[in-house]
């Protein structure tokens, strides 16, 4: 295969999307379809003592009302991190218990959406309330769980220790010690949680925008007591995932039960307000960072301790120190992570779940170190670069941090920076701040079973695991097949997100491309091999269609199985049963991470202290870039996410009532178009062939890591103020 870079090419589903022809789950319709709506609990914790559905049932058009009284036969789905399938272990409405405000307590199904919504609004319940706590900072000691001592898998979630970081820190001539916080935040993809549930001759068919069709399938089978072969989950497009749609949601089985009871398909679209409590979110976390350096700036010790919010019923683990421990060649390192139980729904993945916050904390501290040493922040980082993974002492399979920093500095004009805070001013009186930070994200691979079929007319169909949520997975797959098979990308059809075509491992953790691309490449190799056996003459210079025609064949199909370095074939069992089966970032003999450097300019208005971000330069090391256009959009999107996470977003916790107060898109502040200026992106585009055969690394999440500390450092450069609690707001700078 050619070693060349891949050319810019349009997104393969862009045509359908600009025409409004790409169908998302809620766009589907079925004959006789009923609409469903949920009623939710208004207490912070407790249980339902009585529920009155009479008024709901009396609404014209309402056909069914379900409460916990109807659903006690449901099995629990199990928590994804405890061998289960659900984003949390408890299934709403399977008992009268209310674990948090906003938990569903009833489902109303009706002929029309308006009737269903009216019905749901007429459900009334009384509760026996219990005391609850939603503030992790106020949790009692017994609610704080040391992750290393918890039931979480020891091989992944242990405390990281290299050398004696505490002693080394104590003796270090230059010390930085600081505490950082990140608030709860919500993914809020534009697409609402939507499910269409339909039963056809004993088979349950689910249309839902999900990142994990196989988990949804097996989770439903478990909950309903079905054979997984009786469940199909179809998710060709998601209107954004960002981790919210990682596993079995709470409402899916409710729609399925309603559909079975009614004998009609049921469409359930969860309204935006309910989404804040119906699915996972980024938990609040606190970080204490200690950095010790010698007087030349060599980082001899780093200690990272984090406390993160979890639910009462599940331990959502954290891997903060896995990321921070890889940033530099620390002489010694200690990472300790704790989880704090609160009365919320189980938090979960939100783009760069641990890495974004870990990098915010440690990279902000690195900027403080640069100032303590009076060293340029880029030079300090370059001096502490490393080719060796500090936590395992094995080499990184690839790491281009230095190149990211050098190219970014050049492109940004960093050499013009004057170090002193407030020393750079714009003509309108705004004070200018320039900040830099790096970010990192682990790379994993999940097993794939891929089927590639070609027909004599030249069409090629690829079926494998993956979920298209806008990252451009279909485009990248079409690009690799186009190159390998010598056909235009338009002749490639990619079927993913559908449990009928291939096992659908969760697409998250930026592992989608790194798993699917090499699998597609291997499938193409297998196809070319099979084609070469079909008749005389070399296959080169001929397309698969031409070879088939010459051999008098209609079609040819191959199947390949691809897994991560170090995995055994047992992983295919896990894949097919809907469980997590990823491996990484530690592989036999090497560790694989993606890296990024961000250079950010902020302008702080002199009077009212609004912070603008007119310019960002981002250099990304994500291995070979198979689809430059979609990768660039991912990178820009990651920067926008970083701006939102740093300057805009916070889910407001209501301690007296429970739950989140700002539960809509007006009050939960995401960036708008006018918040975004210039974002320049460049890729190193050097393949990491130790990691996989095509050399791709993950990009979707590394691009958000490092933005927050770059902005925070820029704000410090402008104002002299260190803001260590996100989001940075006007009141921090007045």
């Amino acid at each position: 295969m050619s070693d060349q870079r891949f050319p810019d090419a349009p997104r393969v589903d862009a045509q359908a999307k600009v025409r409004g022809e790409a169908l998302f789950a809620a766009d589907e319709s079925r004959p006789e379809m009923a609409h469903a709506a949920l009623a939710v609990a208004t207490v912070g914790k407790g249980h339902v003592t009585a529920i009155d559905t009479g008024a709901a049932s009396a609404v014209a058009g309402v056909r069914l009302v379900l409460t916990h009284q109807d659903l006690s036969a449901l099995e629990q789905p199990g928590f994804l991190f405890a061998g289960g399938f659900g984003f949390q272990s408890i299934q709403a409405m399977s008992s009268p218990a209310v674990a948090y405000r906003g938990q569903p307590i009833a489902l109303v199904a009706a002929d029309t959406l308006e009737a269903a919504i009216e019905g749901a609004s007429r459900v009334t319940a009384t509760y026996a309330p219990e005391s609850f706590n939603v503030l992790p900072d106020q949790a009692p000691a017994e609610d704080i769980v040391a992750q290393a001592e918890s039931p979480l898998p020891r091989e992944i979630f242990f405390d990281r220790t290299v050398g004696d970081a505490d002693q080394t820190f104590a003796e270090a001539p230059v010390k930085v010690e600081a505490a950082f916080t990140s608030p709860p935040q919500h993914q809020n993809p534009m697409e609402l949680l939507s499910t269409i549930a339909e039963w056809r001759e004993g088979t349950l068919i689910i249309h839902e925008g999900t990142q994990g069709a196989e988990s949804v399938r097996h989770g439903l089978a478990r909950e309903l007591g079905l054979d997984p072969d009786q469940v199909q989950v179809i998710s060709p497009y998601l209107g954004g995932g960002f981790g919210q749609k990682n596993s079995l949601q709470m409402h899916t089985v409710l729609a399925a039960v309603a559909a079975r009871r009614l004998g009609r398909p049921v469409k359930l679209v969860v309204p935006r307000m309910q989404v804040f409590h119906d699915a996972s979110f980024r938990p609040r976390s606190r970080h204490r960072i200690r950095l010790g350096a010698d007087r030349t700036g060599r980082m001899v010790a780093a200690i990272h301790e984090s406390d993160s919010q979890t639910s009462r019923h599940d331990l959502f683990p954290t891997l903060h120190t896995d990321a921070s421990g890889r940033l530099y060649g620390f002489g010694s390192f200690r990472g300790r992570e704790r989880l704090v139980r609160t009365d919320v729904q189980t938090p979960g993945f939100m783009r760069g779940p641990w890495e974004h916050v870990a990098c915010f904390a440690v990279e902000s501290a690195v900027d403080e170190l640069a100032y303590a040493l009076d060293q340029d922040p880029v030079a300090l980082r370059l001096a502490n670069d490393t080719a060796t993974d500090p936590l395992t002492r094995q080499p990184f399979s690839s790491r281009h941090v230095g190149e990211c920093l050098r190219r970014g500095a050049e492109r940004f004009g960093w050499s013009k920076r004057t170090m002193a805070p407030g020393s750079m001013r714009a003509s309108d009186g705004s004070v200018i701040g320039w900040g830099v930070a790096i970010g990192t994200y682990p790379n994993s691979i999940v097993p794939e079973i891929a089927r590639l079929r070609t027909t004599a007319d030249g069409a090629v169909i690829l079926r494998l695991g993956g979920h298209e949520m806008g990252q451009g997975l279909r485009t990248a797959l079409a690009a690799i097949l186009s190159r390998k098979l010598g056909i235009p990308p338009e002749r490639v059809t990619v079927e993913i997100g559908d449990t009928r075509v291939a096992p659908q491992h969760l697409t998250a953790g930026s592992w989608g491309t790194a798993s699917a691309i090499p699998a597609a490449s291997a499938a193409a190799d297998a196809l070319l091999e099979a084609l070469s056996k079909l008749g005389r003459g070399s296959p080169s210079g001929r397309t698969p269609g031409q070879i088939l025609t010459a051999a008098g064949r209609d079609a040819l199909e191959v199947e390949v199985r691809v897994k991560a370095p170090g995995q055994t074939d047992a992983v295919f069992g896990g894949l097919q049963s809907g469980h997590l089966a990823f491996a990484g970032p530690i592989f036999p003999g090497f560790t694989t991470f993606s890296f990024v450097a961000h250079f950010v300019e902020v302008r702080v208005e002199p009077g009212t202290r609004r912070v603008r971000v007119p310019r960002v330069v981002t250099i990304v090391d994500c291995g070979r870039v198979v689809s430059p256009r979609t990768a660039e959009s991912q990178a820009r999107g990651g920067v926008v996410w970083g701006i939102g996470a740093t300057l805009r977003e916070a889910s407001e916790v209501e301690p007296r009532y429970g739950g989140f107060l700002n539960a809509d898109l007006a009050e939960y502040v995401v960036p708008v178009n006018a918040d975004i200026g210039s974002i320049e992106v460049e890729f190193i585009d050097e393949p990491d062939l130790e990691f996989n055969s095509v050399g791709v690394k993950g990009v979707g999440e590394v691009v958000i890591t490092g933005v927050a500390p770059a902005i925070a450092s820029a704000v410090h450069h402008a104002t002299g103020r260190r803001v260590r609690d996100l989001p940075i707001r006007i009141e921090h700078l007045l």
């Binding site: 600009v18 029309t112 534009m190 999107g637 960036p671």
Partner: protein, 162 residues
């Protein structure tokens, strides 16, 4: 026009008359999507806070989730499905969105494009800053704003040229 139950209305959607009986509570968005099979306009918030449901009502961009269908009786609606030419040729704005990759997941895209076409016709695409301001009523969680602004600048020039 008094009724407790459904009210018969006639909408002119993408140049075609559509007769439908609607619940007075039904939004234009829900009627387009659930009754008329026009699912291009999307529901992102249902409260006029995201712009994913943007359509044209008598040539003006509006959020269809806060428009009662009964208020649109006898009036002209344009949706994304009607933007390309009858032969299927893309509108310059649609082509520009492809060329500048002004989308990722595609969910906000129909609303963005309908909003963008109106933005240009309003005369609000004269500069990058003006485009950003006047397109801020369309949220994009994938963060495709840079591409969106570039696409609108590009298409605005073509649309002027006729």
């Amino acid at each position: 026009m008094h009724s407790e139950r459904e009210i018969p209305i006639r909408l002119r959607v993408n140049g075609r008359e559509r007769d439908v009986d609607v619940d007075p509570r039904a939004s234009l968005l829900d009627v387009l999507r659930e009754r008329l099979g026009l699912t291009g306009a999307k529901k992102g918030c249902d409260h006029g806070q995201c712009g994913a449901c943007t359509v044209h009502l008598e040539g003006r961009r509006v959020v269809s989730c806060l428009t009662l269908a009964v208020q649109v009786d006898g009036r002209e609606v344009a949706t994304i499905e009607g933007l390309a030419s009858p032969s299927g040729e893309l509108h310059p704005m649609q082509q520009a969105f492809i060329d500048h990759d002004a989308l990722q997941c595609g969910y906000c895209t129909p609303g963005q494009i309908m909003s963008a076409v109106a933005c240009v016709k309003e005369g609000h695409a004269g500069s990058l800053d003006q485009i950003r301001e006047y397109m801020s009523g369309n949220l994009c969680r994938c963060g495709a704003y840079v591409g969106i602004v570039a696409a609108i600048q590009d298409a605005a020039a073509r649309m002027k040229g006729g």
